[in-house]
């Protein structure tokens, strides 16, 4: 993206960090202004240094907070006129407090777009991306179209907050707005790099610690998994192409997504060799509806079992539905077709880092 100046949020998160790395690793003309929360600049520098980017000159860090009006930047001068803006910051905890989810995901999106509106009046913007999630589809099964999300049944407060945030992004603006919806993000397909281990990493961790006799889900349910670098490159290509006929982008495996059973087998074949227990059987699956029904009992169970049941209930919404995310727009932007699904690089990375998030390693001074 030559001569672009990109404003972005969420640079310390999974997708934001991958995006920043894609932008900065090659020599080029584009520059980036990154909005980080106060006191987080050191952490971002540490994250980039881990990937071999010591003190990148094309990156400027400004301290702000998406939970403040105009991200707290109403009167802060930026180093260059912004041409593109990407909003990655979000609270992705499925069980976070509702007010926090609204403040970060919904008000945060509004504050970011207020800021870009203000910047646009100073110097016209070309395009803005709002990162949402494919799971704004809630509990719907079947084919999920790549268009405005419909209201329906939702699994949790996180999904509701992202659905509301998309409604803010739907307001007509003087520049083009992309709504990018990744499914379940996993590490970089080349070296497995990721900042925190949520989503699919939970069963990988359970298996690695040899505790997985039971899991929740239906064996033929779809588990749409997408490497973070694929999402990052698709998003950047949208900004390069400036395709105004494309608005929603399902950065999802779509037709190539594996079933839960295939994912289980992949985890077992990847980790089986490492644990020395090649012939390990796949875990027995509990029906999601059953898990949700008994979930209210979790507080009365022994702490370990209670926690397992609570986690299973949280996961149950994502491992019981057969659905396919349409990803025609993403494919037109170069999202790969028919990519083989592999988890070995990601599992290696997670094991090497003992499933400890980058943030925790940074705080504890670990490598």
């Amino acid at each position: 993206m030559c001569s672009a100046h990109i404003l972005m949020t969420g640079a310390t998160g999974n997708l934001g960090n991958a995006l920043l790395w894609e932008l900065l690793r090659e020599p080029g003309q584009c520059s980036v202004t990154v909005i980080v929360r106060p006191g987080r600049a050191d952490y971002l520098q540490w994250q980039l240094a881990k990937r071999g980017l010591e003190d990148p000159s094309r990156m400027h860090v400004v301290e702000g907070d998406i939970r403040r009006p105009f991200c707290g930047l109403a009167d802060v001068p930026l180093p260059a006129p912004v041409t593109d803006a990407i909003h990655c910051a979000a609270d992705i905890r499925w069980d976070a407090a509702p007010t926090e989810l609204f403040e970060t995901n919904v008000s945060g999106t509004r504050n970011f777009l207020d800021l870009t509106d203000m910047l646009h009046r100073r110097n016209p913007l070309r395009a803005v991306s709002i990162v949402s999630t494919a799971y704004v589809c809630g509990t719907r099964a079947g084919r999920i179209a790549e268009d405005g999300a419909r209201f329906g049944a939702f699994n949790n407060s996180y999904e509701i907050s992202k659905w509301l945030a998309e409604r803010i992004a739907a307001v007509r603006r003087p520049y083009h707005v992309y709504v990018v919806r990744p499914s379940t993000i996993v590490g970089d397909e080349r070296d497995g790099t990721i900042q925190s281990f949520s989503g699919i990493y939970y069963p990988i961790k359970l298996f690695w610690r040899r505790r997985m006799r039971w899991f929740v889900g239906k064996s033929n349910a779809t588990l749409d998994i997408v490497p973070v670098d694929q999402v990052a490159r698709t998003l950047l290509r949208a900004h390069e192409s400036l395709r105004t006929d494309i608005r929603f982008i399902h950065a999802c495996a779509g037709m190539d997504a594996p079933t839960l059973k295939q994912v289980m087998l992949e985890i077992i074949s990847t980790l089986g060799g490492k644990t020395g227990r090649r012939s390990r059987r796949a875990p027995r699956l509990l029906r999601p509806a059953l898990v949700r029904t008994v979930a209210p009992l979790a507080p009365f169970l022994p702490s370990k079992a209670g926690r397992a049941l609570k986690n299973a209930a949280i996961y149950s919404g994502y491992v019981g539905v057969e659905r396919t995310f349409d990803n025609e727009n993403a494919r037109q932007l170069g999202f790969p077709r028919g990519a083989a699904f592999k988890l070995s690089k990601q599992a290696d990375f997670a094991i090497a880092h003992e499933f400890a998030s980058a943030e925790r390693r940074f705080q504890q001074g670990r490598p």
Partner: protein, 346 residues
């Protein structure tokens, strides 16, 4: 726009209006007292110099402001937007007189020495009280019966504004029952129609008085904010009154059906005669159970009609869409569900 002073900026309508004004590049003075749900956001805006925050109190003579600040305001401010009010339907006479009537008196007293271009006063449709028939967008002079002290105090403050209109131009806005933002459902108070959801959350059926085919005079907070913002840019001539209402609000039944289904997957609605529903407010624990002030029940059975001819012309002129509630009931419900940690059934 010349200098603007806003009272009640930390209330629901206040925060939405200030957000809009600030986006347009205005830097209003805001009068802030104590703690409201919007205090934090206004304080965050003041930190960045987006608003000029003044610690004051409309119930105090001189608004509780130091004389030098009042002098600065006199020189700078040409427009006043008066939003501050205590909107509780269960308010007692002395508090209503102190805040709603006394507040307006104090404010008028302070601005009487200013060179005002316009005064914008936010009232309420309930000033019409219990009078039957079509309510016009005009001063209500004689009065039959008020349902509660809130109605009486708001009517009396309107009368003050009508008198003040001889000295400077005044526009009175009478919004209906305010619900959340039509985009995100955001609100700070779940009263009025939200009672249906409070009941559903507690697995109680919704008790519907009468046929419930009457439409509720609803208005979404973003429409009120849009109207106020447009109104501030267009000073009134002498005295103007607008009924700020959604052009096609859902009926009580439509709204309740849609919400109950979304939140619970069923539609438990028990229909009872009007008289019996009105009597329900005397039940012990009514407020706790429904989140609804007992006085509010009277509005559920009220059959009101409001003229909105002038308002329609106003919105037409400013390109403001007046129909926002019916098509966005989902967003209002989603916000409620999010705030109460509930899943949705679609």
């Amino acid at each position: 726009m010349i200098g603007l002073l806003v009272t009640g900026a930390t209330g629901l309508v206040g925060v939405f209006t200030i957000r809009k004004l600030v986006r347009l590049g205005h830097r209003p003075y805001v009068l802030v007292r104590g703690r409201s749900p919007g205090s934090r956001e206004i304080a965050l805006m003041a930190e960045q110099g987006l608003v000029r925050s003044l610690a004051g109190d409309i119930t105090q003579p001189g608004l509780g402001l130091a004389p030098e600040i009042r002098n600065e305001l006199r020189e700078q401010v040409g427009t006043v937007l008066h939003l501050a009010a205590d909107y509780r339907l269960s308010i007692d006479a002395s508090s209503a007189d102190k805040t709603n009537l006394g507040g307006t008196e104090n404010l008028l007293d302070v601005v009487s020495r200013w060179n005002l271009r316009a005064f914008h006063h936010v009232s309420s449709i309930v000033v019409a009280g219990d009078c039957p028939g079509l309510v016009a967008e005009a001063p209500i002079e004689k009065h039959g019966h008020f349902r509660n002290e809130y109605e009486r105090s708001k009517w009396l403050s309107e009368q003050l504004m009508v008198k003040a209109a001889r000295r400077f131009p005044v526009r009175i806005y009478r919004p209906g029952v305010i619900v959340g933002d039509s985009r995100t459902g955001e609100t700070t108070k779940f009263d009025g129609p939200y009672a249906a959801l409070h009941l559903a959350r507690k697995f109680l059926p919704f008790i519907m008085p009468g046929d419930a085919e009457n439409s509720f005079p609803l208005v979404s907070v973003d429409l009120v904010a849009d109207v106020l913002t447009a109104g501030l840019a267009e000073p009134p001539h002498e005295l103007e009154i607008l009924h700020v209402l959604d052009s096609d609000p859902p009926t009580v039944m439509e709204l309740t059906r849609a919400w109950l289904h979304g939140l619970t997957g069923h539609e438990w609605i028990v229909r009872v005669p009007r008289g019996l529903a009105s009597a329900a407010r005397h039940l012990p624990g009514f407020h706790r159970m429904t989140g609804l002030e007992p006085q509010a029940l009277e509005y559920l059975v009220a059959k009101w009609t409001f003229s909105t001819d002038r308002f329609a012309v106003f919105c037409e002129r400013h390109g403001i869409e007046r129909q926002r509630v019916k098509a966005n009931l989902d967003a209002l419900l989603a916000f409620y569900a999010l705030q109460h940690g509930r899943r949705l059934y679609g």
